[in-house]
């Protein structure tokens, strides 16, 4: 957790990232930037999915629809936060010449997406969508 606090300090004092270590090869920085953008697109897709659930599934009961939309939007916010945090930590690790940070976040997101997908398949195949 103290590691997270240190990262959080770096978010709001960006020049401090530059004070540490040496500037890495520009290709590594750009690769880190593209990873950040890929996570940001994942976040945007989840947020767009949240909007889409609310707009294109009007037959679902309000509770189910809002629950699905909230879940997707919450996952989108988490992804965006995580994108910045992971980018800062990778940037710092590269400047210090340390190993890149590992994370179980991709596994969690994959599992959540898989569970939601299975739930949707069950709902569609059992023809429940009209009853909700």
């Amino acid at each position: 957790m103290s590691d997270f606090r240190r990262s959080l300090r770096l978010w709001f004092a960006p020049q401090r990232v530059r004070e540490e270590g040496t500037t890495p090869d520009y290709r590594f920085s750009l690769a880190n930037e593209r990873t950040f953008l890929a996570w940001l697109r994942t976040a945007l897709a989840l947020i767009g999915g949240g909007f889409a659930v609310d707009q294109f599934l009007p037959d679902l009961r309000w509770g189910v629809r809002a629950g699905l939309a909230f879940g997707l939007l919450g996952a989108g916010v988490l992804c965006a936060l995580r994108a910045v945090n992971h980018w800062v930590r990778c940037e710092r690790a590269m400047r210090r010449g340390e190993d890149l940070p590992v994370s179980r976040f991709p596994t969690v997101v994959s599992l959540v997406v898989a569970v939601v997908a299975v739930a949707m398949i069950v709902i569609v195949f059992l023809g429940w969508e009209g009853d909700w």
Partner: protein
Amino acid sequence: MRAPGGEGGSSGPDPGPAASDGTPGSWDEARDPGLQPERTRLAWRRTTLAFTVAAVLAARQVVSTDHGGLDAWGTVAVGLGVLLWVGFIWAAHRRIGVLGSSAHPSSLPTRMALTAAGCTMLLAVFALSMFF
């Protein structure tokens, strides 16, 4: 500007095209076979497109008849959404300009990363407010 921590090559991308001409360590400064700046520029472009899709869905949400059409709050909400979209596109275009102007661009400023992720998160928060 050499790659850090080359021993073992355990982290980061392949350090260069050294193997192709059989002289390890020789790096032609003018030639980047990985097209890293261009790939990063295109990643920003894709991300702006994803943001635009999410923002259009947000606008559709506000003006949809389910939410009472375009009332006073709706007008404010559309204005905020446009502001977020402009903020994101502005950050992306500044970065695209930097990436296009130099063969070895500097790494992404933290403020720009925060702006991009912040706009994404605010879009989701904005979506959540639509439910009430």
